[in-house]
């Protein structure tokens, strides 16, 4: 069955949900890509998101893998355009209107009001992702170790993700 129209619809929709970061769209992404369209399962989604943390550039690039699995190379391209196109156009328009918007008194209200909502969406995405990835003492320990290291000092997050991979192999490898 041709998945291209569905890929365009889903990822264009997810695009506008990424308020405050890509992770804000994660709960809805899980529902649409896993439960509704069955392009991949929940564990594959978590795995691809996690692998994406090791890749350079924007951090939601695992959408390309979903597009490829569901619709081949065309699916991958279509997903990229659908996910980044709408917000790119919005950024272009708002960026140009910014000088006028800057003096608008409600601008600060919108910024201050959207901050807690976008953090809430980010936290919701984080929890929905953690539910699948923190499943016991070992994974809980790894997550906690990364969290504390990040809060304690400035480390490149990619190193911590790599350290997580090493810790996973050491901890789960049958002795």
């Amino acid at each position: 069955m041709n998945q291209i129209p569905a890929l365009i619809r889903v990822f264009a929709y997810l695009s506008i949900l990424t308020v405050g970061g890509g992770m804000a769209a994660f709960p809805e992404m899980k529902i649409l890509t896993v439960d509704v369209h069955h392009w991949l399962d929940y564990h594959e989604l978590i795995h691809m998101y996690s692998i994406g943390q090791l890749a350079p550039g924007p951090n939601m690039m695992m959408i390309v893998s979903i597009g490829d699995w569901a619709g081949g190379i065309l699916g991958a391209i279509v997903v990229l355009v659908a996910f980044f196109g709408p917000t790119a156009i919005l950024a272009l328009v708002v960026g140009r209107a910014w000088n006028k918007l800057e003096k608008w008194p409600w601008r600060l209200s919108i910024q201050q009001g959207l901050a807690p909502v976008s953090i809430g969406l980010l936290l919701a995405g984080t929890l929905s992702m953690a539910k699948g990835s923190v499943t016991g003492w070992t994974t809980g320990g790894i997550a906690m170790g990364v969290l504390l290291t990040m809060l304690w000092r400035k480390v490149n997050p990619a190193f911590l993700v790599l350290a997580g991979a090493v810790a996973g192999v050491i901890a789960f490898m049958p002795k």
Binding site: G21, G52, G95, G113, G120, L123, T139, G140, P157
Partner: protein, 202 residues
């Protein structure tokens, strides 16, 4: 003070000179390099390259663009590519910036997806991925805490955060609905009262 002014003027001259020489292809190339090397978050790499090395924007404009990109939907990395590219060379610069930024990561994840389908069930890969996914969860939580410290301006904001999480994760209200209802409530809570406050303070 005059020193500061001189260095500011100097900075502006550097930026003007650098911008005059820049082509759309330069923008594509520089964002391609950043897109290929920015491990663990794009913004520091952008600043280092575009502000410190290339002088395409000064620090003040960079921070301003960052605050625009953070208050819009879309990822910081691509919003910044669009905003910076547009300031440099109009919409063609924006397209060059965003394509360059996305291309390396997209190709890497395309290949990673193909390899995962073939080798993803290998024991060693499964163990590593369990660790990676747990690390990613810890990383996200750290981001939430850091962002919360930086951008929440009122104690009551915590309530908006909790209501949002509750609606999305517990009550399974769709994200757009949550965004509209809680968003409007929070914006009204932060209604513009600056002038009244300033008056009261004086």
């Amino acid at each position: 003070m005059s020193d500061e002014n001189a260095s500011l003027a100097n900075e502006q001259a550097l930026v003007a000179a650098a911008r005059a020489k820049t082509t759309v292809f330069d923008i594509f190339l520089q964002f391609l390099i950043i897109g290929a090397t920015s491990f663990g978050g794009v913004v520091p790499y952008l600043r280092n390259s575009l502000v410190s090395k290339l002088h395409w924007v000064d620090d003040k404009e960079f921070v301003e663009l960052l605050s625009i990109s953070q208050s819009l939907p879309g990822l910081n990395a691509t919003n910044m590519a669009v905003l910076l590219g547009d300031r440099l060379k109009g919409w063609m610069g924006a397209v060059a910036g965003v394509v360059g930024m996305c291309l390396p990561g997209a190709i890497i994840m395309l290949l990673a997806g193909i390899v995962y389908k073939v080798r993803g069930d290998h024991d060693l890969v499964t163990f590593a991925l369990k660790g990676v996914a747990a690390a990613a969860a810890g990383l996200l939580l750290a981001t939430v805490i850091q962002l919360g410290k930086k951008s929440l301006s009122h104690q009551f904001d915590l309530a908006f955060v909790l209501v949002t999480v509750l609606l999305v994760n517990r009550l399974h209200v769709s994200v757009p609905r949550t965004l509209i209802f809680v968003g409007i409530a929070a914006i009204l809570f932060h209604y513009p009262r600056k002038t009244a406050k300033a008056g009261a303070n004086q």
